[in-house]
Amino acid sequence: MNELIIILIKIICALVWFLLLTLYLTWAERKESAVIQDRIGANRASILGIRIIGLFQPFADAIKMIFKEDFTPRFSRRFLHTLAPFLSFFFVAITITAIPFGDVLKIGKQTIKLQILDINVGLLFVLAMLSLGIYGIIVSGWASNNRYALVGGMRGAAQLVSYEVALGLSLVGLIMVFPSLRLSEIVHAQGGLLFGFLPKWGIFLQPLGLLVFFFAALAETKRVPFDLPEGENEIVGFFTEYSGLKWGLFMMTDFMEIIIVSALLTTLFFGGWQVPWLAADGFHFPWGGQWLLPHGIVVLLQVLSFNMKVIFFCWLQILIRWTYPRFRYDQVMDLGWKLLIPLSLVNIIGTGIVMSF
């Protein structure tokens, strides 16, 4: 019973964290793009005349989205048309279960893992769920019964499937270095030190893997440099026939994918919740000296560190989205098949050679 309540609390906390971050990412995207382009950005949404640099904007957007007309064209397949956004949303939202937010939290005798599901195939689970998200795209394109939407959906599926290969292969080297698929163990393995001072993070052990993973993951989020599936402004994409809340779900899926990609990058390559030189009882600096901290503060620092890293990578991805123009379709395919996959294979072989000595 106690276990069940703890799990429920964990699920609620993780979902609230995920959805709030998603909502505010829409705001952050508008603000960041504005700052990049010397503008101010959304700052007018107010409650009772109070507008704190537009922090209420996501709620205004959400209310607008809920009250918009939910229109299904006469020629669309109604059931699948409704199902598609939920598919896409569900498969992204479920990945949060495997992400470790922190180490264990001890309250009295109880030890709580700050992770909803510590499954031994955590990494595969996340990748599989992200791949299943493709069904949302294909089904929406197919069910719209609109030729352009179908072509958009197929384009999306082709892009995502081809980048899935690079995404998976780029992580093989990492799995070889930290021999586990359990995400919490991968993070634990990154707690050590390299050459006595450098934290043993994935970025220092697998720089090439990080590069390939980052590009492939950017393509997976299907945002601007790789936004061929939707192509908001000129090429017609898979959610052409969607409006209102269903369209909103597709948009939220995009932002949730950004967060998941950031969380994965953090967990796999940047030490997850690890703070450099912070052990379970406090800081142990490599130049000697230590600073002991109580358990609660250590856990807080770990969770904060995870959040900071995730927010930094969200920022980076938004920066990339507002910097580059869209790739042409053949360029996307070239980059995927001719550059990223060979690089990831080289990475696997290189890692193997280094490890065998």
Binding site: I36, D38, I40, Y324, Q331
Partner: protein, 157 residues
């Protein structure tokens, strides 16, 4: 593969430009929040309804009819503005003035702003300097077309 590596440098350059913009603008935004006054601002935006941009003195804005010393309109109904108007939005009717020096004064003077293209030819044509476009008013949106028709009372202010 080599081709893809070729635009890698350009990709880095592009991200440096946007990052620089972000960092510099954010720096000025934070200074503003902390209460420091800087010459340069983080954004070039003018928050329109609250802040307004200064209009140049030669900007052609809403028309106004000039008055004589005694408060009557300067217009002598020479019809030059009506003739020159390319969008034919001015309508003037004359009435006889008892003063023999003036002879005519406008009993009706209408400018249909929904048709006006703000070319300013009427102002240039006017021999009496009775019509000017220097009020600085640029916001005269209305809910109906009838409200866009400005008559003598509205124009003379």
């Amino acid at each position: 593969m080599i081709k893809a590596l070729g635009y890698f440098i350009e990709i880095i350059k592009g991200s440096i430009i946007t990052t620089r913009h972000f960092v510099v603008n954010m720096h000025f935004h934070i200074l503003k929040v902390l209460g420091f006054k800087t010459k340069r601002k983080g954004a070039v935006t003018i928050q329109y309804p609250e802040q307004k941009r200064e209009i140049a003195s030669r900007h052609r804005s809403l028309h106004r009819l000039m008055k004589r010393a005694d408060g009557k309109p300067r217009c002598v109904v020479c019809m030059l503005c009506v003739t020159v108007c390319p969008s034919e939005c001015i309508y003037v009717e004359a009435a006889e003035d008892p003063d023999p020096e003036i002879q005519k004064y406008p009993s009706i003077f209408i400018i249909d702003l929904s048709r006006c293209c703000f070319c300013g030819f009427c102002v240039e044509a006017c021999p009496e300097d009775a019509l000017r476009m220097d009020t600085g008013k640029i916001e005269f949106a209305e809910y109906s077309r009838e409200d866009m028709v400005y008559n003598l009372e509205k124009l003379i202010e």
